[in-house]
Amino acid sequence: MTEQIDKALAREYEAGFVSDVESETFEPGLDESVIRRISQMKNEPEWMLEWRLSAFREWLEMEEPDWALVDYPKIDFQAISYYSAPKSMKDKPKSLDEVDPELLRTYEKLGIPLIEQQMLAGVAVDAVFDSVSVVTTFRDKLEEAGVIFCPISEAIQKYPELIKKYIGSVVPKKDNYYAALNCAVFTDGSFVYIPKGTRCPMELSTYFRINEQNTGQFERTLIVADEGSHVSYLEGCTAPQRDENQLHAAVVELVAMDNAEIKYSTVQNWYPGDEDGKGGIYNFVTKRGICHTNAKISWTQVETGSAVTWKYPSCVLKGDNSVGEFYSVALTRGRQQADTGTKMIHLGKNTKSTIISKGISAGKSNNSYRGLVRMNPGADGARNFTQCDSLLIGDKCGAHTFPYVESRNPSAIIEHEATTSKVSDEQMFLCRQRGLDPEKAVSMIVNGFCKEVFKELPMEFAVEAGKLLEISLEGSVG
């Protein structure tokens, strides 16, 4: 026995701690030495490394969750490379001519400007410098307001006190399997801090952040809105993003202090895989926010990408009178599988939550809403309203609803409604009669179906999201 242990230990040593900082991509595999190397690459302080290692030890003891209605081959966590440096200029496509024409057609349909197309496709051109200057003016303005918006790796160096205080405070290290993994191996992400009483002068978007390219598959975002502040944050973009990493396990933590408000909007359009569902992204995300007294957190998401989505943006309504909102449109087609929803945990008095979820299934896909509304004994006068609607397009897809409702306070009121229907023949007939072709008709009906969610998105985003749905639905009618 001891012999075996010694052997195992010796083997780990062989792989070595002697890290080769120069190398750009780690060999596949995961053990403590890999985490030490990531931490070293990022030049992290000792406490951060300890934090990562303790998360890793927790992760080793945990089991992969299997309760979601998704089906995918078992992930070999030893076959993944946990760090790869941004690609150097010479590896990138030289011009848009080298980019997949299918991708370009989609960009065109979305009306994305040429420069942005190049950025998205990862083309190495000087034009990117233009955007750098945009980013610089952007930074100046934020600095003036006292807002901190930077990569989380930078924040760990520059604002260790803030990071120490808040990281893992909303999503604990051992919250779930993927969150624990993220804690151990996250490579980058964003950090936002809005000082007391400040209204962030502009919408913050990951899209504009320097170092955006290749934040890697284990992204970590932490947003702290101090007392009385306000921020709106946009994540992702409507354009399809290419990524070689198949597994994405991000963690997003939001902290809304007294009277603060955070609005977090996501458009997710990762590669969903080919017709047989091969090669798509697995998107296993943990997103949670905590609301202190009178605070408000609003999640809005438009999910159209990824082969498998496992995502439940949640609100812990800790302070009295705090408000949580969740607006979601999830569209699946082809062989996509989405299991998404939210959790609203009511702890404080007079807390309110609203959940509006619209699921659209087409092709051979499966789309599930899974949600939890919990009223704790202290949640006097709390209120929840939930509406989940599903729309089926075609007879080979599935739409499912799994709402958990738990109440331990008689003065709390919970209402849950769910409906499932298809695009009715009457609706289609009416549209066709007025000269719309079937695809246009379906896209119009679907847009109407999603209206309640789109109106929560920032304006430009909403327009793009509408277009995105239209493109995503192409070919699924008839």
Binding site: N409, P410, I413
Partner: protein, 420 residues
């Protein structure tokens, strides 16, 4: 695995009768089943500690005489299990034409073969205690209605338990094509007892089943049951379930639309007080097209009681043109009570209309205030409003005599609730 389950398996191994092949199958499934914990989805809110600790054991004492409660203005063909044993003298009474009732072991060989092939086909294998019932139920009652026979007199099956008794009762009901039958399941258990009571219904084409299940005892008993229905083309069922809680009361209902144009209605209500627990898992499987389902489930939960509801509607790929609705409403009466509800939809067909709704709230404060301004005492007003909430479903009971019988029992229950 718990000691209780191990002992059940050991006891089952010594039973060898006409059900042997089915029992062997269930035993095999049981030996691989994990004892449920909080992480087991079907038992997430219902801990099984009381089963693990139970002292109930099977009591074989012919001197124990228990009688089902009398119901005014109501006569039925009575079948009573006492501590799991059926008094065979009840089977000698003359029965209406087209109806036959026997114990499985007394059937002819050909009838036995038929009953054996139908045994445990409507009840899904996933029910742990259903499997326990498969292996331990001794007297299995087989009720058959011939095709076209309309039996006007209801059949009441009572399961009566004395203090500290353990019982496992099993009934298999087959309705022939175009036939009609009304069945009442009634559980009456005394303290510290444990029972599993499972009934399977096979409803042939165009047949009509009227079903009631009453569990109006409270206290320290553990009562686990299942009512499972399979509906063929154009078959109909109307079920009413009224339950009070106990230390642990769990009911699993499964409605399977195995034919087209079947119609199912289920109205369930539960009134819980003290530290009672009631858990209803209602599953509807629409396996065939053009079916309709309407479910209404209402609960009132007071004091430290807990209610669990899981309402699953599963529409299979081929079940086009299905209409399914589930409505779950709950009143929470105290801040130490708890309601956990989960209405689920799992839909694989596109041309269907499905909806579910769930609400949890307290009594309408304004209505309460209104009644008080009219001189009704607060406690009385509370009883009135609670009663109104449940009475809507009582009014839907097809059998008027049963409705009149259960109404005052429920009113009495509310009067007890408000005292605390």
């Amino acid at each position: 695995m718990s000691e209780w389950l191990e002992s059940a398996i050991t006891r089952a191994q010594s039973i060898n009768d006409w059900l042997a092949p089915k029992r062997a199958n269930a035993l095999e499934l049981l030996s691989t089943t994990k004892w449920p914990t909080r992480k087991t989805e079907a038992w997430r809110y219902t801990p099984l500690r009381v089963v693990e600790r139970t002292k109930a054991k099977s009591i074989d004492d012919a001197a124990i005489r228990l009688l089902p409660v009398a119901i005014e203005n109501f006569s039925a063909i009575e079948l009573a299990f006492v501590n799991g044993k059926l008094d065979e003298s009840q089977l000698t009474n003359a029965l209406p034409k087209g109806l036959s009732i026997s114990l499985g072991q007394n059937l002819s060989d050909s009838e036995k073969a038929q009953a054996l092939s139908a045994f445990s086909t409507t009840k899904p294998d996933r029910h742990l205690f259903g499997l326990v019932n498969d292996v331990l139920a001794q007297d299995v009652v087989i009720i058959t209605v011939e095709a076209g026979a309309e039996i006007s007199e209801p059949v009441r099956i009572s399961s009566l338990l004395s203090q500290g008794a353990e019982s496992h009762t099993r009934v298999q009901v087959s309705l022939g094509e175009g036939s009609r039958l009304s069945v009442i399941e009634d559980i009456q258990a005394q303290g510290e007892s444990l029972s599993t009571a499972f009934v399977e219904y096979n409803i042939a084409a165009k047949a009509h089943l009227e079903h009631y299940r009453f569990a109006l005892q409270t206290g320290t008993n553990v009562s686990i049951g299942g009512s499972h229905f399979s509906l063929k083309d154009h078959a109909k069922m109307h079920s009413t379930i009224v339950s009070f809680g106990s230390d642990l009361s769990r009911l699993d209902t499964d409605i399977i639309h195995a034919g087209e144009f079947a119609d199912a209605k289920l109205n369930a209500m539960h009134l819980l007080d003290g530290k009672e627990l009631f858990d209803l898992h209602a599953t509807v499987e629409h396996a065939m097209p053009n079916g309709t389902t309407e479910e209404n489930v209402r609960g009132i939960v007071a004091d430290r009681a807990r209610s669990v509801f899981n309402g699953r509607i599963h529409i299979h790929r081929d079940a086009q043109k299905t209409l399914a609705e589930l409505n779950n409403r709950n009143l929470l009466m105290s801040n130490t009570a708890e309601i956990n509800t989960k209405p689920e939809l799992e839909i694989y067909a596109d041309d269907v209309r499905c909806a579910h709704g769930a609400t949890v709230a307290e009594i309408d404060k304004q209505a309460l205030y209104y009644l008080q301004t009219r001189g009704v005492s607060r406690s009385k007003a509370q009883v009135m409003l609670n009663f109104g909430f449940i009475n809507e479903l009582i009014d839907l009971m097809p059998n008027a005599a049963l409705a009149e019988w259960v109404r005052p029992i429920i009113r009495e229950r509310f009067a007890q609730m408000e005292v605390k």
